[in-house]
Structure formats: structure tokens, C-alpha cells
Amino acid sequence: MSTATMAALSDTLAWLAVLSYAVGAALFGFELAYRARWAGLAGMAVAVAGLGANAGAAVARGLAAHRVPWGNMYEYSVMVGVVTVSAFLVWVVRRREVRPLGVFVLLPAVLAIGIGALVLRTPAGPLVPALNSGWIKIHVAAAIIGSSVLCLAAIFSVLYLVKDHFERRAAGLRPPLVAGGARTADRVEVRQAIASYVEEEAEASDDQPLPARTVWDRMPSAKRLDDLAYRTTAFAFPIWTFAIIAGAIWAQSAWGRYWGWDPKETWSFITWVVFAAYLHARATAGWRGRGAAWIAVLGLVALLVNFYVVNIWVVGLHSYAGV
């Protein structure tokens, strides 16, 4: 097939993926709202089909441009879809209780590819000389995986915050159990002991679900969501760290300096610092739980700024990435 047909095929497959993910999200949402197991299973099938189309779109694009399919913002967006949805499918296989979260994974994938295709699309073409290096395979791939999974982690933190709100309202618990006040070491220990006891109680009560009143009652417990958000962050954070290091090595060989506070570098650093703060906060009395989750929300904002705002509105060395 000629490169032009390949490029056209890629575009068609990308829209097919958006469509499948949207249908899949609707099915998962239906399952969540009406406890229809068939809808969840159908959603899985549609999501798998969508992933096939999405991966096909990436491969066809790569064949059309004769290079890795992540050389500009549109292709990055398509790859974000591939990474988030496949990460989600792997989770569902390993932990079935994650499935109700499908709608919150597929909708961002729809948004990412949709915005990419409508706003950021550029025709398939070769790379500018600065991008023409073996490092694009390593640095950008790591950045795509790291940022996509960190996005998912932050979305889980948002879900945790909402679920936690409902749980607290249902239990009539007063939130400031561990916040403020005493600072000395032994009080911290007491607070931590109480906090861990409460956590275990919550975990124990998770086994006997109360009759569902809202959709949120059918979501995993706040503790599970918090745990999921943490594990996801812990998985992606080293990848993001590696992406930054690989980028620095590339910058050293392309521009003669490993770090120059270029806007993209700066925002990658900000994102890294915010998620580092999240990991620290989760191990700090008075911050774990909701405090940490709010930091993850800041991390999500930093990721979005880094991708959309910095690439489109800020002039920098990474601007050639192409809109």
C-alpha cells in the first residue's frame, strides 16, 4: 500500500477507536448505573476492539511516515489512547474489581484522541532534524507511558476524593481526624495507630457492601481507590523519572546541555516534583488520604499544562514537536 493510503487508513482507524471507546464508556457507565453485568462484559469487548483500532492507527501512521508513530502531538495523543486502554485492560484481567472504573479510563482516551484528531492533527510526514535520533524511541516512549499512567493515577485520586466524600457523609464521620494540632513524635504515632485502625475497619466493612443508593456506592471503596491511585503512581513515577533522564541525555547530545530550563523541561520537572510530593505526602501523617489526593490533582493539572499549554502557547526548543 502507498504511504497515502496508509495515512488515510490510520486516520480512519483513529476515529474508529474514538467511536469504540465512546461506546465502551457508555456500556461501562450503564453497568455502573444499572448493575447490568452484560453491559460491563460488552464494554470490555468493545474496548478490546477499540484498542485494536487504536493500535492499528498508530502502526499505520508509523508505516506511512516511515518512523516511530510518536513524532508530534497528534501521534502522541493516539499513543496515549493505546497506553491507557491497554493498561486498563491488563488491570481488569488481574483485578476484576477495577472494571467499573472503565468509564473513567475510556472517556479520557476519547478526549485525548478526539482533541488530537480535531485540533492537533498534522499530515503524516518526516521528522525535523533535531528529532532524528535513536533517543526519540526511548525518551518519547517513556514520556508517553509515564504521563498516560500518571494521568490514570491522578484520575483514581479524583475518584477517591469523591468516593471518600460519599463515605464520610454516609458514616457521618468528621474529617479532621488526623489534621493539624499536635506535632510531637509520640502524638504522631498515636494518630497513625488510630488512622491505620480506621483504615482496617473500613477495609473490613468493605466486604459487606451496604445496599447501593447512588452510583458511587457501587464503586470500589475509598481505601481501595486510594490504594489503586498509589500503586499506579508508584508504577509510573520511575518511568517518568527515566523519561526525564533520557531526555536530559538526548539534550546533552543534541544541544550540548543536559538541562536548560526550556519550558517543556521546566514543566516535566514541575510534574515530577508534584508527584514526588504526592508519594511523600502519602507517607506523612496529616497528609495521607485526602491531602495526598489533592496533590495528585495538581499533578494532573501539571501534566495537562505540560502537554497542551506548553506545546501550543509557549515558545521553546520543544516547539518543533508540531501541533
Binding site: G125, V128, A130, N132, F242, W255, W267, V274, G286
Partner: protein
């Protein structure tokens, strides 16, 4: 991980006032190295970086800073005073990261000491009855006590636990790599800073421009821009010469740039010759100095001959004229300044690489340019008046404030042609096209240290996130005639869910080894609080 500080013993009780300054200082110090402070400083550094990305930075583009100052005469100077145009080199940014690193060191020292103590000490016996743990198992065994404990020790060692025997019980612990990794991760940031400071202080960066065929020596005067470190002087520049043998650039059929590279010859002080094609992403190293391809441009060879009174003629310009290339059209602009004439004359020179006239949609002719060097054409606009050549100005442009056009039509000079300047001033010839390259030369002796630090950061990060610390105790209690009841309990400080499975496995193996199957096992839901002295999973980096 618990960090016992000596200060905590002398802390005043609640309600008791701080009587000495020393106590207050200690209190402040403890607060300073707490995780809370670290979080605040992390947020501060993130917020400061945002400022650095909002305002143009001198280190990245001084032109945009100048533009900003010109556009905002009111707030501009104030922002400048606050260091907003050099955020990452400002005193307050330095203060934040130094405070962060000081707090980091202050918290690392006690942690490292505690970790060293932990490594020297044997895994401690359980402070509580084993039945109170979340993960428990009990077996019967006919083995003698010592042998039963030896079997338990063997099973645990096989699973890479550190094992200690305390009388009738065995204590085992594993997952030390978590704290070791976390310490390595944090210490590596100090190393990173050392490498950064060393490279910045003892290195330099500069830019040189070389026309094809030209040779320059690596001395300060040949640099267009030169940024040395605090402890690096121009006299330290290694002695070598650099020659641009040939420059090549190519384009995709769409006109998009494909590649550009300089073929360079370097000759060092000992006369060793080094030839390399230096392209984007393909630097060259000469005597410890790295040479990077940055930019390029065109230098049309222009000869200007002026008719002077008395039938004589002078040639004020004969050679490559540096021009500034516009992207992506590849049309370049330059200027020839003739201040010796009265009135002064300036030539505005535009070079097309592939001049072409096309018919626009409305039928009018449109000027286009092929980025490839297929049809070079010079377009020369002569101007007359005052050049202001005594003032600091760009070599690429004319200051037109006091200039008037000398002719109403420009001179179009194809390659190899000569055209008359109006008014019998003289002639302009376009005799050839050469290209010039802009190279970045840099020396950063800190790079190996920074790279090592980055690798260590990653190596430390992985175990600090994924390894979990867990303890297992096995106790043998005499039960019945010649029999033993073997109790086992396990505790994980992190990853409790995964440990429940691991403990079940371990208990099953232990049961087989003591030749009895487990009598009961798994989780006891009622009243299962992790034993008191172990329960608080203290923050990993207080």
C-alpha cells in the same frame, strides 16, 4: 521507618514552657527536617519553576526578555529586580533548593544512622503475643525444640530473610533494600547537585560562526557568545583550530528540512588531526570540548566596486557576506554598509536560494523560494543617507531612520552576474554562494557525575517503591507429651495484601517442613490489630 532522635528524650512535657534557647532551636531544627517542611519546600520549588516558565528567561532567549521589557516599561524593571527573567539563577530560587537539600541532609543523617543500627542489630523478638498479629499460623510438631527452630530458620533463610534465634523463638526480617534504596535515592540528589555545580563552575559554553573554507582558532575573540563558569577563564580554552571543510543541508520533497551537517577538521596543539561530520544529534569531541551543530546560514560572495573621483575605483567589499536565514522560507537577509561615501550608502541584500515566480490565484505573479540551492538570486536595495554606523547595530540590517531609497527598483543579480548601482556609484557582483555554520562549543566536566547521580537516583527509586519490609516470628511452645506447638506470625509494614499471600505460602512450607499440616492459618478478623510496638508504619523519610 522509625527514627529515634536523642532530642525526644529531653523534650519538655506539654504545658511546660521552653526555658532555654537551645530547646527552641532544637524544636525548630526538628520541624525543619520534618516531612512537612520537605513538602512545603517541594511545592515552593514547583511554584518558582512555574514563574520561570511564565516569564521569558535571559538564559534561554535574551531577545524575548528585551522585547518584554520594551513592551512593559512599567512592571518590567520591577520584575527584573525580582529576578523573574532569570528565575533559575536567582538568589531566592537558589535559597529554596539549598533549603530543600539542607532539610534532606538533616533528615538523611539520622535515617542513615538508624539504618546502620538496624543492619547491625539482629531482627528483634516480637513484643506481643503472636496470636495478636493479622497473619498467623499454628502447627503441631514432634520435633525437638532446637530442631524445630532450626527448620524454621532454614525455611526463612531460603526465602532470604535475616534470621535471629531468641531462646524459644525465631525472628526474621527482610526488605532492607527499601530503606537502602530510599537512602540512595535521596543521597544521589546531593551528588547530582555536586556534578551540576562542578560542571557549571569549571565549564563553559560558547558559539562560533564559520564560513565554508574558513579556519578559526579556539580563542575568546572568535566566539560570538561566550559564557564561562565562575572558575573558568578564556585562557583555559584548549588550543585547537577548527575548519569548516563543507556544509551540507538537504530537504524533503515537501520542503521540510531533512538534515544539516558540518564537515569539520580540528587540529589540536600537538598537531593531531580529527575529521568528522557534525550534525544535529551527532556532536564531536575535540580535546575535551564538545562541538555541536546549532544553526546555519548563507554567505553570498558579494563584490562591491565603487567608482571614486579621478577615475579610480575601490573595492570595499569582496567576500562572503553573512546573512540571517529566515525559517522556513530559507530566504536570507544581510547588509553592506558603505560609510566611507558621502552621503553614506547602504545596500539591503536579500538572497533567495531558489527564486521562482509563480502565478497566484488572482493571476498576479507571486515570488516564491525553493529552500534548495537551485536558483540563487540576490535582490539588492540601495539606500542613501546616514547609516548611524558609529552606533551599536546589527550587521545584518540597516538602520533606516535617516536613509532614503536610492532607486525605486531593486537590483536583481543572478549568480555570476554584475549589476550597475544607480547614479554611477559602481557595481555589485554576485560571484558565489557559500554557507556558514553556527556551532556550539561546550565543556562540562560535571556530566559524568550528573549521569552517575541520575542512574543512582533511578536505581534507588525502584526498591524504595517496590520492596516491602516484613517480619516473621516463629515460636515453639511445648504442648502435650514430647510435642510442640509451633506458632508463626507475620507483619508487613507495606504491601499488606501481597504479604498475606506470601505468608500463606511460607506457612504452608513451614508446616510441611515440621512434618505436620497447618492446624489453622490465615487471617483472624476479630481483634486483629497489628501488635502494638510494630503497628505504626512510620513515614519512610521523616
Amino acid at each position: 521507618m522509625a527514627v529515634q532522635t536523642p532530642e525526644s528524650a529531653t523534650r519538655p512535657g506539654p504545658g511546660q514552657p521552653h526555658q532555654s534557647l537551645g530547646l527552641a532551636v532544637r524544636q525548630a531544627w526538628r520541624e525543619f527536617r520534618s516531612m512537612r517542611t520537605a513538602l512545603v519546600l517541594l511545592f515552593a520549588i514547583a511554584a518558582a519553576s512555574i514563574l520561570g516558565s511564565l516569564f521569558p528567561q535571559r538564559g534561554i532567549s535574551p531577545q524575548r526578555v528585551a522585547q518584554y521589557l520594551a513592551d512593559h516599561p512599567g512592571v518590567g524593571p520591577v520584575l527584573d529586580r525580582l529576578g523573574m527573567f532569570d528565575v533559575f539563577g536567582s538568589a531566592w530560587f537558589t535559597a529554596i533548593y539549598l533549603a530543600l537539600l539542607t532539610a534532606l541532609t538533616a533528615c538523611l543523617v539520622p535515617r542513615a544512622r538508624a539504618f546502620a543500627r538496624l543492619l547491625r542489630a539482629r531482627p528483634p523478638r516480637s513484643g506481643a503475643a503472636l496470636s495478636r498479629y493479622r497473619n498467623t499460623a499454628t502447627f503441631d510438631s514432634a520435633l525437638p525444640l532446637e530442631q524445630a527452630l532450626a527448620v524454621a530458620g532454614r525455611v526463612l533463610r531460603r526465602r532470604r530473610f535475616r534470621v535471629a534465634v531468641h531462646g524459644d523463638s525465631v525472628a526474621a526480617e527482610k526488605g532492607y533494600l527499601r530503606e537502602a534504596g530510599s537512602l540512595l535515592f535521596h543521597v544521589s540528589f546531593l551528588l547530582l547537585l555536586v556534578g551540576l555545580a562542578y560542571g557549571k563552575g569549571w565549564g563553559y559554553r560558547g558559539q562560533v560562526t564559520l564560513v565554508e573554507g574558513e579556519t578559526i582558532s579556539n580563542t575568546r575573540v572568535n566566539y560570538d557568545a561566550f559564557t564561562p563558569g565562575r572558575w573558568y577563564g578564556p585562557e583555559q580554552l584548549p588550543q585547537f583550530s577548527l575548519r569548516l571543510d563543507d556544509f551540507s543541508n538537504s530537504f524533503w520533497p515537501s520542503g521540510q528540512p531533512r538534515e544539516f551537517a558540518s564537515r569539520l577538521t580540528a587540529v589540536d596543539a600537538e598537531g593531531r588531526t580529527q575529521r568528522q561530520k557534525v550534525g544535529v544529534n551527532r556532536p564531536m569531541t575535540v580535546d575535551g570540548t564538545r562541538v555541536f551543530q546549532s544553526d546555519y546560514g548563507y554567505a553570498p560572495v558579494v563584490k562591491v566596486t565603487l567608482n571614486r573621483p579621478g577615475g579610480k575605483s575601490t573595492v570595499p567589499q569582496d567576500g562572503p557576506l553573512l546573512t540571517l536565514r529566515d525559517q522556513p522560507t530559507e530566504v536570507s537577509n544581510g547588509a553592506v554598509k558603505l560609510p566611507m561615501l558621502d552621503p553614506q550608502v547602504g545596500l539591503d541584500v536579500t538572497m533567495f536560494t531558489g527564486f521562482r515566480l509563480t502565478q497566484g490565484p488572482d493571476g498576479r505573479a507571486e515570488i516564491g523560494n525553493d529552500p534548495r540551492l537551485v536558483n540563487p538570486l540576490l535582490v539588492v536595495f540601495p539606500w542613501r543617507g546616514d547609516l548611524h554606523a558609529d552606533q551599536v547595530q546589527s550587521v545584518f540590517t540597516l538602520d533606516r531612520t535617516d536613509l532614503r531609497p536610492l532607486a525605486d527598483r531593486p537590483l536583481l543579480i543572478p549568480l555570476g552576474a554584475t549589476k550597475e548601482l544607480p547614479g554611477g556609484l559602481g557595481t555589485v557582483s554576485f560571484t558565489g554562494v557559500r554557507q556558514y555554520t553556527v556551532l556550539t562549543l561546550a565543556r562540562d566536566p560535571g556530566v559524568p557525575i550528573v549521569l552517575a547521580a541520575a542512574v543512582l537516583i533511578l536505581l534507588g527509586l525502584l526498591p524504595s517503591l517496590y520492596v516491602t519490609r516484613r517480619r516473621v516470628w516463629v515460636r515453639a511452645v511445648p504442648a502435650g507429651p514430647g510435642g510442640l506447638r509451633i506458632e508463626a506470625a507475620g507483619l508487613a509494614l507495606q504491601g499488606k495484601t501481597a504479604f498475606a499471600d506470601e505468608f500463606r505460602d511460607l506457612a504452608a512450607e513451614l508446616g510441611r517442613e515440621v512434618e505436620r499440616s497447618p492446624r489453622s492459618g490465615g487471617r483472624d478478623i476479630l481483634g486483629s490489630v497489628d501488635a502494638g510496638d510494630e503497628a505504626p508504619a512510620r513515614s519512610p523519610s521523616e
